[in-house]
């Protein structure tokens, strides 16, 4: 069994103690809520998309250190990025969590270079399969908010 130091890296605990971009955005910002049915955690993602750019993002809700720090780092990583870049980032992050994203028949993922940066600290989570859902909660909620923002 891997040690806890693989999971609770300093940077993760830092984001947990001091979450970035916490708060809400008023409409017309997109908003989605994600539940982790396993542990009851909830995350709110608010997304302001102007043209192709995510100009602002806020995170609400509560959860464990992994889900909260993942949400916090996610908010930093997507702010100011283009929608295409963010989608690529989601794929990369999920890949790191060893989740294969299924693409609609025939479609291929566009080749966009994105760096995970701080988010790499979360790769220890993959050794604790139960916590993968904690780490991906914010990201799944992000996808929903993105869908809302781009469909409007």
């Amino acid at each position: 069994m891997p040690g806890l130091e693989d999971l609770y890296r300093e940077i993760i605990l830092d984001h947990y103690r001091t979450p970035r971009n916490r708060g809400e955005l008023p409409p017309p910002a997109a908003h989605a809520v994600g539940h982790n049915p396993l542990c009851g955690d909830e995350i709110d993602v608010y997304l302001q998309v102007d043209g192709d750019t995510i100009t602002d993002v806020k995170v609400g809700g509560q959860g464990c250190s992994i889900s909260q720090s993942s949400a916090s780092m996610m908010s930093q990583a997507v702010k100011g990025r283009s929608v295409t870049e963010v989608r690529a980032l989601v794929r990369r992050f999920k890949g790191m969590m060893s989740i294969e994203e299924e693409l609609p028949e025939g479609e291929r993922a566009p080749e966009v270079e994105v760096k995970l940066g701080d988010l790499e600290a979360l790769q220890g989570v993959v050794k604790f399969p139960v916590r993968i859902k904690c780490a991906t909660l914010a990201w799944n909620t992000l996808i929903e908010a993105l869908a809302e923002a781009t469909s409007a």
């Binding site: 069994m1 539940h35 049915p37 396993l38 604790f128 399969p129 139960v130 916590r131």
Partner: protein, 410 residues
């Protein structure tokens, strides 16, 4: 023979049992199959070292158990070539699977006057749920008739399917042994705009199963007939359908959220798996699938065609008109399950006398009373052969039949 039956038998502890010094001739596998050592050991071992809750707790032991449970689901997916593991729902048996479809899909989609088509060789598990829906909703049931040799008579299939919402049929009859043309039936259902619901209870244990090649919408089967434990079954469904259906049983695990004023269901497969699942049983089913895959399902099928041929030859040769074997004579369209009548001896008496020689077979209506009425019998005797049976077992049956005549002085 294709399979090395002696070495297979040696792997089934129960088949080693002797009663009154005689070996057991188990010919009731269409009812329920025996369990190989690897299945029993997998369950024992799991309970001794790895048993823990599924999907609920975060500690290592529970994470391992959850992973083992989900591996079982993946093994099922592979075994029936389902597109996604999440569409494999663990039920308590095939019956629950078929009821789930009738309750959840049926109640959400069927109104008075809607038509569901069944066949005249269906098991009660694929009749009674529809009867209940008919009584509750006023849906109409239509029945595909049978030919004289016990196959589906498809002459009027398209007019029967005309306007139907669902076509629910067995892939193999548990009485006649008939294997139905599943792909063709699914195509016919779809051409009529109906769903294809396949009762694969008697098919999956004996044949290579490919739900995508069938193009089926729902497929139900039970672990206990395929060398796996009792207490677990499978319903596979097309993802879009399962996602569109309301939940069936409500409770833990199947929810995303519960409030005092309502609830939101979880994603697949949890949505249809309320409460604590059959945990140890899933581990056992996985071991059974591994066991079957090691033998190779194509080999199992070939073996059973050999046994079926030998059984028909032997019984007809020895008893001629005294024995009446129901179902098709062509082994291409039948499995190794034989219902039969013998010299006017009531099946119940026959089975009692055969039991005296340790030949275990079922006498009764086999949960297909409508078919019994068609065959114009109350009951039949049924010998069903599986991967651990061989010619000796056919011979033992034939020998034991001899003894049956004596006692009734016929």
């Amino acid at each position: 023979m294709t399979l090395d039956v002696a070495s297979i038998q040696a792997q089934f502890p129960l088949l080693q049992r002797k009663i009154n010094g005689q070996r057991l001739v188990y010919l009731d596998s269409a009812n329920t199959s025996q369990k190989p050592r690897v299945v029993i050991d997998a369950m024992t071992n799991f309970m001794e070292t790895s048993y823990a809750p599924i999907n609920r707790s975060a500690y290592q032991l529970a994470a391992e158990a959850t992973e083992a449970f989900e591996h079982a689901r993946k093994a099922v997916r592979r075994f029936i070539n389902a597109p996604h593991a999440d569409d494999v729902i663990f039920t308590k048996n095939a019956t629950e699977g078929l009821n789930l479809v009738a309750y959840s899909w049926g109640r959400a989609n069927l109104r008075a006057g809607d038509v569901v088509v069944l066949t005249q060789m269906e098991h009660h598990a694929n009749i009674v749920p529809w009867h209940m829906l008919a009584a509750e909703r006023g849906i109409e049931l239509r029945w595909v008739p049978l030919t004289n040799d016990g196959q589906l008579d498809l002459t009027n299939l398209s007019s029967l399917l005309d306007g139907a919402k669902a076509f629910a049929f067995t892939a193999m009859s548990n009485v006649l042994g008939t294997i139905t043309p599943v792909r063709q039936l699914c195509d016919a259902a779809h051409a009529a705009g109906a769903l294809a619901i396949v009762d694969a209870c008697q098919y999956v244990p004996h044949n290579v199963t490919d739900v995508q090649a069938w193009d089926a919408d729902f497929v139900a089967f039970s672990s206990h007939k395929m060398c796996g434990p009792s207490g677990i079954g499978v319903l596979w469904g097309r993802q879009a359908l399962l996602e569109g259906m309301p939940p069936f049983l409500g409770g833990g695990n199947m929810i995303a959220d519960v409030r005092m004023d309502g609830f939101a269901p979880a994603e697949l497969p949890a949505k249809f798996e309320a409460g604590t699942p059959p945990i140890t049983e899933a581990i056992g089913l996985h071991a059974a699938i591994d066991f079957l895959e090691d033998l190779g399902m194509a080999n199992v099928r070939r073996h059973e065609m050999e046994i079926a041929t030998y059984a028909m030859d032997t019984l007809n040769e020895r008893y001629g008109d005294d024995i009446c074997l129901h179902g098709p004579t062509n082994v291409e369209v039948r499995g190794a399950t034989f219902s039969f009548g013998f010299r006017n001896i009531h099946p119940h008496d026959l089975s009692q006398v055969l039991d005296q020689r340790n030949v275990c077979l079922r006498a009764g209506h086999h949960c297909v009373k409508p078919l019994m009425r068609l065959l114009n019998v109350n009951a039949t005797a049924r010998a069903s052969f599986y991967l651990y049976n061989d010619q000796h077992d056919v011979d033992a049956l034939a020998d034991a039949l001899d003894g049956a005549s004596d006692i009734f002085g016929l």
